[in-house]
Every structure is written in structure tokens, then in C-alpha cells.
Subunit: 340 residues, 4 copies
């Protein structure tokens, strides 16, 4: 029973099947294949607008490339102090951008506090050469604490940033879970809220390894630069059709949403179970597929002893992550072990 992360899960069979189906005959290399084009059409349909998209094999690559396409080496990115790009990507943004700075903002449940954001935005003075001006706001949905921003919360923050001339990036490694949680449309959660570029993750949601960088509106003109950055960083695989097939199946027949709903339901079941255990309290809203619970060390040890795997978080809580493949029986067994 592992709740360590959503990445140890296998790929969804439908996605694996799509990879197998893609494996016939010759296909144009480097993203010029038919499946890649089909993915772009599906994304346009999903987001209800024209998009330019590029697929890569990891979330770190997606974030690094997306951010570097919108922030210069002499600019700064405003993000939450617990953002994945700050804490878990070994300086990928600094690397891809050639030395941009991350300017960190606070906020409960890893949502950027709106007034802290406004203060930071008010202080930007691009004409003052000594300071590094923020050029991009990066939001994360689900947040690193498993909370979901509502579309309106994204719009508030993105709107404030755009009013100051910043671009807006949304780290959507768990975008599907956020959509499943909030019921918002992908369009409302992104470009209609002011997002220029979303990294839309499939890896944690049933793929073998595929995240898409999706550009909206005027940002689409950055597609050639994005592709050149991808090539230079080794993220233009020769046989792109095998990434594309994954995303294609992920988008087909609503699989992305079904998988996310399943993972979210599993997390809700776990959170509900925790609520009934004395001494266990949730650290953050379990909006998506993650549950962060404070519990006495003795309880945590009991769980571990029963073979349940989870991860100690920096705030002292224990993180439990469910995936599309998590079974109710596993959750019930974990809860039973806790209550034993």
C-alpha cells in the first residue's frame, strides 16, 4: 500500500494501447507526425481555442521550457515559496532561463496570497536597473499542498499580474485533478483567466511519461522559440509519435478526467477516513488526489509498520497521494491499520 506519490503508478492500459497502435510504418520525426497534429487539435477542442503545443517527457522539462520562454535571463518569476519549480526541480528554471531569479511569495495551502502578490507587483520597476524585475507569474494547480485554486482565484492573480505586464504560467502537473475538483472548464481555468501557458501533465494521470506545454492566444507566436529551446535541451525526441500517442489517448473519450476523478475520489475516501480517527487532522484541504494529515508519531509509526508508505512533508504533516490506480481496498486497509 504505497501513497508515496502518483508517479509509481503504472500507465493506464488505454494509453499503453495507443502507444502500440502508433507503432506501425514510418512517421515523420521531431513532432511532424500525424499523431502530434491530432493532439494539437484535441487540445484546441479541450481548451475551446486555438493552441500551440509541445510535448515533453517530464514535468520538470515542461515547466523549465515554458517558463524560460516567457522570462529573460535578467528577469524574475513570482511563485509560491513552496512551488515545485522552487523546491523540487534542482534549479531547472534557473538552468533553462540562463539565470532568472525566483521571487518567492507566501500563502496558505501553497496558494499565493493575493495581497502579497499585489505588493510584489507594485514594487516592480523595470526601469530600475539594479533590481531584477518580475516578468512572469507562475501559479500551480493543484497546489503543492493539494489544494485547488478555483478559476476565479486564478483569474484574480493572473489579472493582477497581467495588469503589470507580466506573463502568466500555470504549472498543471495535476491540472486534471484541479479540473475534476473544481468543475471549472479547462478554458476558464487557463486562458479565460489570463493564463498564457499551461504545462498540462499526463504523467501523473496515467501516461508513461508525457506532459504538454500549451500556448494560448498571443503567446502562440512563441511556439518557434519554444521548439528551439526544446531541441537545444534534448526535448525534441526523434520519435515524437510515441509521446503524442500517450497524450492522444489521455485526451480521447475523457480519459484524463475519468482518471483524475478516480484519483480524487480515492483521496476523498482516505480523507474521510482520517477525519474519523482521533488525533488526525488535515493540514490542507484535500481538494484533489493528495491528503496531508497531521498525526501523532505513534500513529504514523503504526501505519508504516503495517506496510503503508507515505512521505513526511516540510510542514510536519504526512503526505498521502492517490493515483488513478489506487484501489478502495488499499485505502480501507490503510485506514484499518490506523484504527487497529
Amino acid at each position: 500500500m504505497s501513497f508515496m506519490s502518483d508517479t509509481p503508478a503504472p500507465a493506464h492500459p488505454a494509453i499503453l494501447d495507443a502507444v502500440a497502435r502508433a507503432n506501425h510504418g514510418l512517421a515523420a520525426s521531431y513532432g511532424a507526425d500525424e499523431v502530434s497534429k491530432q493532439v494539437e487539435r484535441r487540445l484546441a477542442e479541450l481548451f475551446e481555442t486555438d493552441v500551440s503545443a509541445w510535448m515533453v517527457g517530464s514535468g520538470t522539462a515542461a515547466n523549465g521550457l515554458a517558463v524560460a520562454t516567457f522570462v529573460s535571463s535578467m528577469g524574475a518569476v513570482l511563485c509560491h515559496q513552496e512551488a515545485h519549480i522552487e523546491r523540487d526541480e534542482r534549479g531547472a528554471v534557473e538552468f533553462f532561463s540562463g539565470g532568472a531569479k525566483l521571487s518567492l511569495l507566501p500563502g496558505a495551502h501553497a496558494k499565493i496570497d493575493l495581497s502579497a502578490l499585489e505588493t510584489a507587483l507594485a514594487r516592480i520597476d523595470p526601469g530600475f536597473v539594479h533590481e531584477t524585475p518580475a516578468e512572469l507569474l507562475s501559479l500551480t494547480n493543484l497546489t503543492e499542498s493539494g489544494a485547488a485554486y478555483a478559476a476565479a482565484e486564478i483569474a484574480e492573480r493572473a489579472g493582477a499580474a497581467k495588469a503589470r505586464g507580466l506573463a502568466v504560467h500555470l504549472d498543471g502537473a495535476r491540472f486534471a485533478n484541479a479540473i475534476a475538483s473544481t468543475g471549472a472548464s479547462p478554458a476558464d481555468m487557463t486562458w479565460r483567466a489570463g493564463v498564457d501557458v499551461v504545462t498540462f501533465g499526463a504523467t501523473k494521470n496515467g501516461a508513461l511519461g508525457c506532459d504538454a506545454i500549451v500556448l494560448f492566444g498571443a503567446a502562440r507566436k512563441k511556439a518557434p522559440e519554444l521548439q528551439a529551446r526544446a531541441k537545444r535541451a534534448g526535448h525534441m525526441p526523434a520519435k515524437m509519435r510515441f509521446l503524442a500517442a500517450q497524450m492522444d489517448a489521455h485526451l480521447a473519450d475523457g480519459l484524463w478526467l475519468a482518471n483524475a476523478r478516480r484519483a480524487n475520489a480515492a483521496a476523498a475516501r482516505l480523507a474521510d477516513g482520517f477525519a474519523a480517527v482521533d488525533g488526525v487532522t488535515l493540514a490542507h484541504p484535500a481538494d484533489g488526489n493528495e491528503v496531508f494529515a497531521f498525526m501523532p508519531d505513534a500513529l504514523a509509526a503504526k501505519l508504516s509498520g503495517a506496510g503503508v508508505a507515505f512521505h513526511k512533508w516540510l510542514d510536519g504533516s504526512q503526505r498521502f497521494v492517490c493515483s488513478w490506480a489506487t484501489k478502495d481496498a488499499e485505502i480501507d486497509a490503510a485506514l484499518a491499520a490506523l484504527r487497529a
Copy 2:
């Protein structure tokens, strides 16, 4: 009938099957899975020595990470003026290294001329702060002209470089083809010849997308730095098992060698056919799976008109690449079109 490259080819069924087999249950993330460990064992067996290995999804990533692990941002890489790292990777080495310089050397058939190398090596003066000292020699086998270095030729060049304190990298995007061509052992072609790190490609040889960076001997202590660089660049996929499964199947039962032999045989059949056509001459030895042929424009047009795809090279020749999947019938049809 496309001879554009070896990358439009599909994946070999055995490799796809291995990916499917790897897709059960949970697996440790980020390269800590059992299949990845198995690949390292297989590589050690293949190269007859302990190795440290890391897998990535593209040859550009493999080369960029490998080279940057051995050359500082203030150093230079000696390579052939037609090397893939110079001509076809959009400055990946410069990007991964933080600004290293490529110092270009001449040589027939894209092999580095030994005396030009010796002259360049003799001029290195690390104490002269104004110049960028070469810190790494990068060789390519097969070369960009499709020729194969013999193991002794690698040893001559690597030995000269090591005598001056340089590290040695071998770009082995078509390493299997070079081994199939020369009959040398992988060990003789690499570490016994003085190579510190090889990028061993499977992508062009039947994989979906997987190249391994393999460190030998004392260079193995660089493995943690290599992994940190990989993480930072988005080349530490969460579900590494799906890359590992590809390389595992590539190495199992000699598939790597069988695929390369098949591709080489196809190219030999094509080259033999060209030899019988008036006005067609080979630009370079067709040692592996590539044939470079000079031919009158009228002949090239006739071929194109018959639906045969190939690629005009910078030296004026036409490049034809065969893969593990190229069929004799395709070659014969192309030759028939030429002779028609």
C-alpha cells in the same frame, strides 16, 4: 520508400513488448526501479566492466549531459567540424555546459584527422588564461558520414587526448552499427581505447526513444553530478521504468546487434546496387547503415519522382539511411527506379 533517416522507423516489437511487460504494479520513481538496475547490470556485462549509466529520451540529451559532465563552462570540446554536437543539436553542448566552446577539427569521412588533433592538443596551454583550453575530445562512431572508426583508430585519438589530460566522449548514436561493422567488442571500442563516457543509442536502433549515457572506470564517480544535471534539465523522468524497459529489451538476446546488422546489411545492399549504376559514386565508405552517394541531378530527380525519399548532404552527396526495419524489397525497388 523512405531513406530519410533511421528515426522514422517504428520501434521493434520486442522493445514494445518489454514496455508493456514493465507496466504492472508500482515501481520506484526517478530511476530507482528494478528494471533500471537490471539495465546497468546488462551494460556492465556488455562492456565487460563496471559502469554507471543514465537513460534519456533523445540523443541530443545524451550528448549534452555527457559532454557537460566532463567539460567546464570555461573549457572547449575538440570535435569534428561535422559532428552532430556541432551541426545538428542547436547548441545543446553550449547550453548544457553553460557556454563551453566547440573547437572544430577536419578529417575525411568525418573522422578526426589524427595530425590535426595532435596539433590542436599540442597548442593547449591551460595556464594561458586568455584562451579556452580543450578539456574533452568528442568522437563519433559511426561518423556523420557513415564511416566506422576501427577500435584502433579510436584508441589512437583517445590516447593522444588522454596524454594531454583531456577526457574522451564517444557519441554512439549509431554505436551498434559501428560494432556490427567493425566486429570490435564494445569494450575495445570504448574504455579499453580510452573512452570515459559513451552515449549508447537505442533510439535509431529499434527503441521508442532511449539512449544511455555510460560512464567507465574513474569517470563513474561523476554519476551523481550526471544525475543532478539530468534532473535539472528535465531528463529524470518519474516513470523511468519505461525507458529502462526499452534498453533492457534492446540489450537482451543480442537484439541491439541483430538490429544493427540488419540495418547495415540493407545499406550494403543499397551501396552495392549503386556501384552498378553509371554515374553514381559513393562519397564515403558505407561502413554502417548509411550510404552517401554522388549522383547526377537527373538521377536524383528520377529517384524522387519514383517516391524514394532521401536527404541532400552538405558535401553535395545524397544521404540514404537504412534502419532495422528497412526491407530488401524497398531497396530493390529504389535501385530499380534508379536503373529504369
Copy 3:
């Protein structure tokens, strides 16, 4: 009457004279001249130990080169959240290092809080590839709030960092003022306290434009790398003798200390005057040549109206900086205007 900074001040006549004296005959280029060697000897005497030194024309260059010599592109620098390298150098550390990250720590009066430092140090796990490990601690004395660390405070922080394997940098743009303030010896304030490299500023203390990067102990072996970095960044001026002459005069006959004492005394006179004014309170200890005062807007406006120039700080206080050239009469006039 300008208290905007210590940089609008002219150069001290003795330093200008030294430049003129250096201007005869030929001199070896790029730092190989006799005056540069003499400076290294003077610094060794001042710091009571062998040193390796390099001179540059700005504090930003000194900090950028010094820090990048000790932190890799994949590492982090621990520094105060108000440090000059974070707030006032346009990302120079990120640039010089190729993308290192600044990890910010709190603390009153811009001194790094010891327990926050210890918490940050305890969390470093170089083996955890996803996070950016701190490799360097950067302290600033005088701090950005004008406070002076005692040598023992430097030693506490540097000692904690070294115990975790970090290198230690001291940004000494106002090092002379800190020494004049604390009475500590330069040796006790630096290498005896665990500092590996100090950037010792003369620019704010009477030079035309010269700061020295000084390496101590085992860090001296980094001198060739430091020089290569300097060359690459355009900080190896051909006619280095003219930088060297400035530093030489700065060190001769205790001019550095005399200038700093004079500037500190001026600031003390100003701080004392403020203390006697109703509604004016010091934001930070006026240990050196800077005074940060909270005052009602009306008072600030009165001062400005009287032609006194100063600078609004981020904490809401007003910053007044004195230099070696500040005259008592200017201070008295400013105070008189305030009291008027």
C-alpha cells in the same frame, strides 16, 4: 548636502596621486605588474596570512566572481533576504554562476538569524537530487542595514556553515567601516572566523573604483579559476596597474581605516543629532557610516525641502550614508534644517 550613498563622493587625493605615480613607463599587462604584486603583499600583511587577490572595478563584479568561484551552477547560496547580491546586483550571482539559486534567510538589522541559518543548514541533503543544495554562505559586513557583525558573530555563522561543508564568503563593500566600528582585526573578522573569501571594497571608501577579492588558506588554490572567470567576464583589465595603484594607496599608511573612521564618525554625529529630535528614531544600529531613521513624512519633506538628499528604504525608514568626504558642517546643516 547629499547623503544618498557613499558612491557619489570623490576619490581621496592620496589615491588619485597614486594613480598618477603609476603612470610612467611600461608595465606588464593583465595583473602581472609590480604594483599588483605589491598589493598582494600589503593584503597579506593586513590579514596576517598568505592571500591570493584579484582586483576589479565594481562591487558587483567582486561579489559575482567571488561567489561563482565557490558555488556551482547547481548549488545554492545562503544569504540574508536583504543582501546586496539578492536585491541590488541584477542577478549577478545567477549570471556569474550559470544559474545558482539564492536561498534567503531572515534576521534583524540584515544580520542572518543564527537559528534560521542552523535550520537551513540542517536541511541540506546533497544526496537528494531534486533539491538545490546550499554550497556557500554569504555574509555582509556592514550589513545592508548599516549594522556591524562582531567577529564572534561572523565566526558563529561561518563555523556552522563550515561544519556542514559550505564555503563562506564575506561581502565587504563596507568592510573597512565594519572594522573601524568593531575594532576587530581584519584577520579575526575573516579567515580566523572561517571566511574563505572576502570582497574588500575600496570604491565606497575613497577609491576611483577598485574592490579586491581576497582568498584565504586552502581557498587560495582557486586563484587560477578566479582569474579565468575574471578574464571571461571582462574583469581582467589590460592596464591593471591603475586598479592596483588605487588599492595600494588605500592600504598604505592606514588610509583605508582612517577614511572609514571618518565616515563612521560622521554617521555617529548624524545619529546623535537625530536622537535629539522628537519623532525621529533609528531603525537600525548606526554602527558604521549609515543611519536609518524613521521620521514623520512632514519631517522628511522638510529635510528634502532644505536640499538634503537621502533615500527611502524598503522598511519605511530613511537612509543617510556618510563617506570619507562628508563634512561636519553638512551634518550640522542637515540637523539644523530638521530642527528648524
Copy 4:
């Protein structure tokens, strides 16, 4: 008698005097002072057009900043294979640009061969993502072999580059010598010929250490970016007035041209002397202040033995550099030693 370079020479007394005159009272920092503004006016007058200018303390800084302002990290610079930016600046362009590539062109006397340039320009395909497209042409006048491009030769090359959308940089470390040699106007040699940015050196021509980056025409809108790059790289000295005073005096009363003429005349005297010596031949036209002479080893040894210092060049010739301060008597003594 040293002919090693023009950098061991002292500063011209008029320039040193200007520095001393600038040293009174307070001055705005970071380039906002009155002398800096005066320099910009003088440069506009000299070049007969509006300019934006920035001053730095070394030629490497000037070139690195100028080039990086016009080439992206993913682009290439076309330059001569012996250009200073390729051979003598320790990868400064790669550093300042974040990894741009230098694409090297041949040509006699270190002038870029026009047809080689045209071939390179014809091959640029910005839409082909795998290759690094040239974005900038960098010319050098005087060339590294001491030859002077005529204004028409600059215009031919710059025109070809601009027709392909490239920007054009002129490395003018010895620009004054080129103007003195050709008699062209500064305007004809730069913006009228298609040059967007010139690095106009004073350091080798009598300054203590000051080169100006001068932007013309539409390129002037890059001034804020150039300043931000300068700040980030430590090339925005607090007391800029002391750089400005040097350039101001260099430009006043034609000192720049007088110094260059004097240095050129000295070189001509030396070259004429060489012409009269059996076995000595010039390797390159001695158009400016440099003479490259082939001579038997015995002759070179005789000269060295007589205390004459010079520098062995890569082409086997001996390089002799004269400066504004070289005396006829020194030249005559060197020639006498040779003939002895």
C-alpha cells in the same frame, strides 16, 4: 624596448589630467553623471548621428556586452577564425550570451573573405530548428593581423549580413588606428556601412582603461538592455565619472586621432626598417600600429638578445606593436640591433 602590445603603455597625460579634474565634489552614480552625458554628446558629434553609449573598463567586456545584446543564447555569431572574440577572450561571448556559438570564417590578413561570408549567409535557415542560425556578424578593424578594412569593405560585408537580417558588430579595439590608416570618417566606417554597434577602444590608445560601446540608429533602443546586462556583469561602476573623464579627454581636441596617428607612424617606421633587412618579410600589411614579420630564428634571437620584446604569432610571424608612446629612438635601436 618592448613591442609586446599596446597595453603596457602608460596613459596619455591629458587623459590622466581629465581624471584628476573629474575628482571634485559629488557626482551622480552609475553613469548618470555630467561627464558621461558629455561623452555621449561627443560621440554623437564624432559619428555625425545620435548614439547611445556605455563605457566599460576592458575590451573583452565591451565585446561581450555588445555581442550579447544582439545575439540570443540560441544563435550564432559569424566572425573571422582569428577574431579576438574567438581566440583571446576566454569564451566571453559564450558567457555573456548564455551559450551562443561562434561560426568561424576564413580570410587573408584576418579580414573575412567575402565569398565565404556569402556562402555562410546563404545557408542560414532560421526555420530549421536543429541548426544554430547566425544572428550577428562581427567584424574587427584593425583586424587581428593589423590590416585595415576600408569603409567599402566593411560596407560590403555588413550589407550582405543585413540583407539576411543579421545585426552587425564592429570590434574597434583599434578603431582609431583603422581610421587614421584609412582616412575614412567614423560614420562611414560604421553606421553608414551598416554597423549597428561598435566597441570603440580607448584603452590601447592612451586611456587608463576605457572602451565605449556605441549603438547607432534603431539599435539605440537596445540601450536599456545593454545597461541591464552591464549591471548584471559588474560593468556599471558606481563612480562612472572616472571612466567618462578618460573617454572625454580621448575625444577632446582630436587626441584619439593624434595618438593613433603617432602609433601608426611608429609602426610604419618599423615596417620600413624591416623592408631593408635581408630575410625579413611582412606577413600582413602594416596598415595600423602593428607589424607582423617573418624572420629567421637567428634574427629573432638576435633581437631578443638585444632586449627587444615582441610576440610570436600563430602563423609563425613575429608581432611588433607600437603605441602612442613608442619613440622613434626605440624603433631605430631595434632596427640597429637587427642589422648589427
